[in-house]
Symmetry: C2
Amino acid sequence: MPELFTVQTPPDAWAMFARAFTPQVKIERIATVDALDRVLAERLMSPQDLPEFPRSTVDGYAVVAADTYGASPGLPAFLTVIGEVSMGQAATMSVGVGEAVLVHTGGMIPPGADAVVMVENTQQAGADAIEVMQPVSEGQSVILVGEDIRKGAAVLEPGRRLRPQDLGGLLALGITEIAVAAPPRVGIVSTGDEVVAPDQPVGPGQVRDINTATLGALARQAGGEAISYGIIPDDRAALEATAKRAHAECDIVVFSAGSSVSYRDMTADVIAGLGAPGVLVHGVSVKPGKPTILAVAGGKPVFGLPGNPVSAMVIFELFITPTISLLLGAASRRQTRVRARLARNIASDTGREDFVQVRLETRDGEVWAVPVFGKSNLIYTLVNAEGTVKIALDSNGVRAGEWVEVVLY
Amino acid sequence: MPELFTVQTPPDAWAMFARAFTPQVKIERIATVDALDRVLAERLMSPQDLPEFPRSTVDGYAVVAADTYGASPGLPAFLTVIGEVSMGQAATMSVGVGEAVLVHTGGMIPPGADAVVMVENTQQAGADAIEVMQPVSEGQSVILVGEDIRKGAAVLEPGRRLRPQDLGGLLALGITEIAVAAPPRVGIVSTGDEVVAPDQPVGPGQVRDINTATLGALARQAGGEAISYGIIPDDRAALEATAKRAHAECDIVVFSAGSSVSYRDMTADVIAGLGAPGVLVHGVSVKPGKPTILAVAGGKPVFGLPGNPVSAMVIFELFITPTISLLLGAASRRQTRVRARLARNIASDTGREDFVQVRLETRDGEVWAVPVFGKSNLIYTLVNAEGTVKIALDSNGVRAGEWVEVVLY
C-alpha cells in the first residue's frame, strides 16, 4: 500500500483531503446560558426592537428639549414636574410643553418627552417644579427604540464561536435556547506493544501512553469530544476490530500509530479497509511528522499520526484541528501569534515545512524565540516550549537574529 | 458613604484593593487526564529517569559505534546479528564487538550497544549477518536514560495553567493525580426592579437580565465557577439577605448594581455591612465604568459593577479576572493583542483610562481598529466588537491613523 504514495507538501495533502471530505455539521439545541465557546448553527434575526421603549441613560427629568433651549444658571427654564416613572414600570403619563417627569437610569421615558436633563443640571423650584440650568438637545441621554438592535436585523451568523457578550446579546432578546454544532466525536486509538496505560506498572522496554491524553486534550481544545479506545497491541485483528468500532461510533478517527515501520504499515492497511476512498495521503513533507496518513472512509476523516509526541502534536494542529473546525461549521480557532527574533540558526530543506518548538525570552526589551532542541520522541521538548516556529516550504532555513512568527500553544 | 471616597485611577484602585486582600489558593486533587486548563498547585519532581532504558529512535541495528568507523558502501563493516529486541520487551542479550541486534523505533537498546544503524544503511549478508554501509557515531539514534527528564528534576512549577502536552509530560512519569487550584466560586447578584430573567415575559419598562450570563461566562473563562444568585429587586432587606448568603458561600461576590444613583448607594451600603475592611474604592477614573466599588469583607473580595453591560465587562476584565487569577495562584490569563491603526480620532480626558470597543478591518493589507460607537448601555456594542483599545491615563486622545494595541476578547 504505502509504496503507491508519494510524500505530499502540507498544502497539497490538505487539498487532497479536503476534496474527498464533505463535512456535515451535526446540530443540537442547548440553553443559551450554557453556550460559551460553542459554535452557533443557525442564523438568528432579532424578534423585537431592543429596547422596545425609549430609556434614559441618566438620572434626571424627561422633557421636551425645545423647552430648555437657551436655559442657563442665570436664566433657567422653569418646568412643572407632573410625576415619576418608577424602575420597571411603564410611564403612565405623557409630557407636554412646560412639563417634566422624573426618570431613573435605564427607566422608561414617557411619551411626549424627547430628551432627559441630568438631575445635576436642575434645581428644585418648589414641591412640583424644577429649574433647568442647561439646555438639552433632542435625543440627549435617551436610548431610542431599536437603538441597540432593530427587529428583524441579523443578530449573529452561523459559525460564530460564542463569547460572553454574545450570550448576553441573545438573552437580551429572550433567545434562551439556540442551535449549536454538536462537538465532533474524535476517537483516539493508541497502538503499540510497548505502550501501557499511565496508571499501570511499567516494565523494562515499556513506556506509558501519552498520546491518548495529549491528543484528547487537543481535540477538546478544538471544540471536539475525545473518546479513548485504549491501547491496542501490535495485532492486526485487534486493531481492525477497534478501528471498525471507533469508525462506527465517531466522526473522526485518529490512530496514534506505533513508530516502527511495521506498525505504520499495519495502521495504513487497517485504515484502507475502513471504507472508500480510503487512504489519500501517506507521507507529508513536514518535520517532524512525515509518516502521516490522511484518509476519508465512508465519509469520515481518519488520520494516522506518528507515535512520537512532538510529531503527533504538530500533525494534530496541522490537519485535525482544522477538520474539527469544518465539522463545527466554524472558522479555525484563533491562534495567538507573537513576533520574535530567532536565537539560533535553523537549517531546513526546501520542499519541507519544519516546525521548531521554541520558548520565548526577553532580552533588552526584545522578544527572542529560543529553539527547544530535543528529539521529537521527547515529551519534555513540548512541555518546555511555549510555541512553534514554522520554517516555510520554500525556505532552506532561518538565520539567528531574523524575525519569525511564533504560534503560541 | 460614597461622599467619603474620591475617584481613584485604575492602578491606584488595584493597589488599594491588593493591599487589603490576601489570596488563599484552595486545593483539590484530580486526575491528571482531566486537568486541561487547570492551574497546578504543587511542585512536582520527576520520580524517575525518562526514559528508564536507552531507546532507539529508528528501525535498525544496535551496534558498538566504533565497529562502523570508516564503513562505506565500498568497504562495509560486517557484523553478526545475535538477536532482536521485540517492542515492549527487555533486551535479554548484550552487544559485543562485531555484533549487532535488530531493534525497532522506540524499542530498548541492549547493553553494550551505544548507537543504532538505520536499516536503510545496512544490507543482509547471509541469515545472521549484515553489512553496514555508513558509520554511526556514539549515541546516534539513541535516546539516553534520563534524556527526556532526569529523576529528581523539577517537572512543572505551581501556578502553571496546564496544556495538552503538560498532561502528557505528567502521565509519562506515571503521575496520574495532581493537586490543582479549586476554581474560585464567583457569586453574581443582579439587582434592579426593572430586570427580569431572560426566560420570563417582559413588560413595558422592563429589561431582560444580561449580566448574570455575561459575567458568569467571563468568570468561567477566567478559571472560576459562576454561581448565580438571581435578580434582587430594589429592596434593602432582600439585597442584604442575598449579599450575606453569597458572601458566606462564595470566594468572590459580584454585584451587578442597578445603574441609578439610589441602587448604587444601596449596593455600597450593603457591601459595607459585609465585614471589615469593607469598601476600599468607590469610583474609578475609567470610561465606561466609573461607578465601580472595590471592597474586601472578611477576607473576601466584593465588587460592585455598574449595571450597564459594557461597563460591567470592562470592569470585570480590569479587576475581577486578575482577582480570580490570584485565587488560582496563577499568572493572569494570556491576552491576545494585535496592533492596528485607529480608524477615527478618539478624544479622552487626561487622568482617565478610556476603553473603546473596536472591530478590526483589513484595508490594503493593514489592520485598522474601527471604534464601535454606541452607548455603554447597549449590549450590541460588545457583540459587534472584537476587542478593546485602552486610551492611557495620561493621554488626551488618539488621532486617526495612529497605531494602537487591541486586546481581543
